[in-house]
Amino acid sequence: MLSTKHVVLGLLLERPGYGYDLQQRMDERFSFLQLSETAIYRLLDSLQRDGYIEESGRKVIGGTRRGSPRVTYAPTDAGTAEFQQWMAQPCATAAVREALHAKLILSDPDDLPQLVEQVMHQERETLAELATFQQPPASDAASGEVPWGTVAAMLVNDAHARRLQATISWLQQVRTVLRARIAEHERTTPESPS
């Protein structure tokens, strides 16, 4: 499942922020999550309880109700480590797209080699899932009507295989684009002296 907690953590790693600011950033980059400001405050509370974020300051915003300053948050060392572990963890197959969406959006050039590994891992998992489907006994090559039960089973398998194909096609594209970007990055980044 996609962890919205880690998405918030990733956004705070990019730049400390307060609730409303985070909701704006969420809407801009993770509109598919449709998180309310209240939900974001709950996530911030939870992250603070877990010791992953801490108050980093207070900011007075023009037009803020009651004029009270907004609390800004930043990740702790434990929060940074937690985020990095999440980024490196393979995604559950059922939510592969959503989880990889989030990781791609939050990644920087140094993350790309690990993301390629994850994408390859997901491709292998998806292929393994395809391999578990058992097609009903092959139709008689000499034609004749195929029994409806066989046709129905084939239609269902077809649907599963097409869903897996959509996942693999997207993963293949991600892998190709990431590898091209890594190669480009290596070409343009001067080697640091050892």
Binding site: R124, L130, A138, A142, N157, Q172
Partner: protein, 245 residues
């Protein structure tokens, strides 16, 4: 068991002016006798190049291709021609070079020299029946539907009883039932003739009768995750991220 066909660390690059396109990068693949191996790839993913190299029709830039213990890049062109005539069948939808040829003659053509006309014709009719295309006996290539062409091309290859069948998108343009019949034929070829079958397709539903499923993209070939081997979940080390702001 020694594989019938083995590609080891095969790479191939096409050069178009200043542009280098790595079609295959360190690809390894085994096909055993009696196994049906399917490779999935989108258009321009390198499927046809992979198949041509596997069939010995094209040479890799590096790496080796071994068929029945023989290095295909080391055999003479005469021996390679013999291998293509008798042992490795390349299957595509090109059809006969002449549109005047009846399908029974097209299918019997590979046996004409070795078996004579009447035996070749008898075996061709039997093969047409086997692939469910008996009604195409007197038809010409131009008269056939996609489904009939798919069966005819397989019949044309199977008549020689090859040890390895290499097929490029054999189910293109077929509906689900016809597709499954063609795949059933290939499954039977592996099971009953004990031939190796290597097929590349752009559709994953076409892979469901195969023993091995592989994915080709960006020159890399991937196989399925093996959960029975006790593979550990991948956890990767990350460089520490710089916080901005």
């Amino acid at each position: 068991m020694t594989p019938l066909l083995s590609l080891h660390d095969v790479s191939k690059t096409y050069v178009r002016g200043a542009y280098h396109f790595n079609v295959l990068e360190s690809v390894s693949l085994d096909v055993h006798a009696g196994a049906f191996v399917a490779v999935f790839g989108e258009r321009s993913s390198g499927k046809t190049t992979l198949l041509k190299i596997a069939a010995g029709l094209e040479r890799p830039d590096s790496g080796s291709v071994t068929f029945d213990g023989r290095d295909l890049s080391a055999v003479s062109s005469r021996d390679l021609a013999a291998i293509h005539r008798m042992e490795i069948a390349w299957v595509d939808r090109a059809g006969p070079s002449s549109d005047e040829l009846m399908m029974v003659d097209y299918i019997g053509l590979p046996l004409l020299k070795s078996h004579g006309h009447s035996v070749a014709t008898r075996l061709a009719i039997s093969m047409l029946s086997r692939v469910g295309a008996k009604e195409c006996t007197s038809a010409r290539w131009g008269d056939l539907s996609d489904a009939e062409r798919a069966r005819i091309t397989i019949a044309h290859a199977l008549i020689r009883e090859p040890r390895l069948l290499v097929l490029d998108d054999p189910t293109a343009g077929l509906d689900m039932i016809e597709r499954d019949r063609v795949l059933g034929l290939l499954r039977a070829t592996a099971d009953e003739m004990h031939s190796g079958v290597l097929m590349a397709v752009p559709d994953m539903p076409a892979m469901m009768r195969s023993d091995d499923v592989l994915s080709l993209s960006g020159g890399r070939l991937l196989g399925p995750a093996e959960h029975d081997s006790g593979e550990e979940a991948v956890v990767l080390e990350f460089p520490r991220r710089q916080q901005s702001g």
